[in-house]
Amino acid sequence: DTAVSQTPKYLVTQMGNDKSIKCEQNLGHDTMYWYKQDSKKFLKIMFSYNNKELIINETVPNRFSPKSPDKAHLNLHINSLELGDSAVYFCASSQYGIEREYTGELFFGEGSRLTVL
């Protein structure tokens, strides 16, 4: 049973198109994230949701729009794709402790490799 699953795993598309990546976690976690990993393997947070509420929104073009229909799902929609959007996008989840302490461990999906031509 996959804990954090992303679809699609590979996505090849033309510049200017709109695409979505879906993410689901079955761990019962309350927090989900999108990270972007570029060709040099540099990993940067894009968004974070806690119980469906957006809590982190890094400096990301507004062509990127996350949506969390419930706390087990976090989707990423990208409008007007550009060459520079080519990367691997990772979804992750984590859980705050009972006393709201940060437990720190992120569970990552296997990534969605986006190639913009």
């Binding site: 940060y102 720190g104 992120l106």
Partner: protein, 114 residues
């Protein structure tokens, strides 16, 4: 602002030898420190963390790391490397008031030579 430095892009070590992957950090407030490993075409996997308590933390697969506050370091170590340890290793940092925003280093590729 928080930052993580992994000064070595690549570390090579012979199988059976001890390994060290270096990490230094900068953060305001108390640091929360993590190591993750990424195998080819896979997501990152949590190895170990330091949040509070003992400076030496033990994690998965025989790895350990030592928090050194004076040197602002959190180096990853293993006494005896295995070929299967070959992977990309990421150090990450956050702090208690910004705990949700994990900031990753640029990664170190570890190659264990048989």
């Amino acid at each position: 602002a928080q930052s993580v430095a992994q000064p070595e892009d690549q570390v090579n070590v012979a199988e059976g030898n001890p390994l060290t992957v270096k990490c230094t950090y900068s953060v305001s407030g108390n640091p929360y420190l993590f190591w993750y490993v990424q195998y080819p075409n896979r997501g990152l996997q949590f190895l170990l963390k330091y949040i509070t308590g003992d400076n030496l933390v033990k994690g998965s697969y025989g790895f350990e790391a030592e928090f050194n506050k004076s040197q602002t370091s959190f180096h990853l170590k293993k006494p005896s490397a295995l070929v299967s340890d070959s992977a990309l290793y990421f150090c990450a940092v956050t702090h208690e008031t910004g705990a949700n925003n994990l900031f990753f280093g640029t990664g170190t590729r570890l190659t264990v030579i048989p």
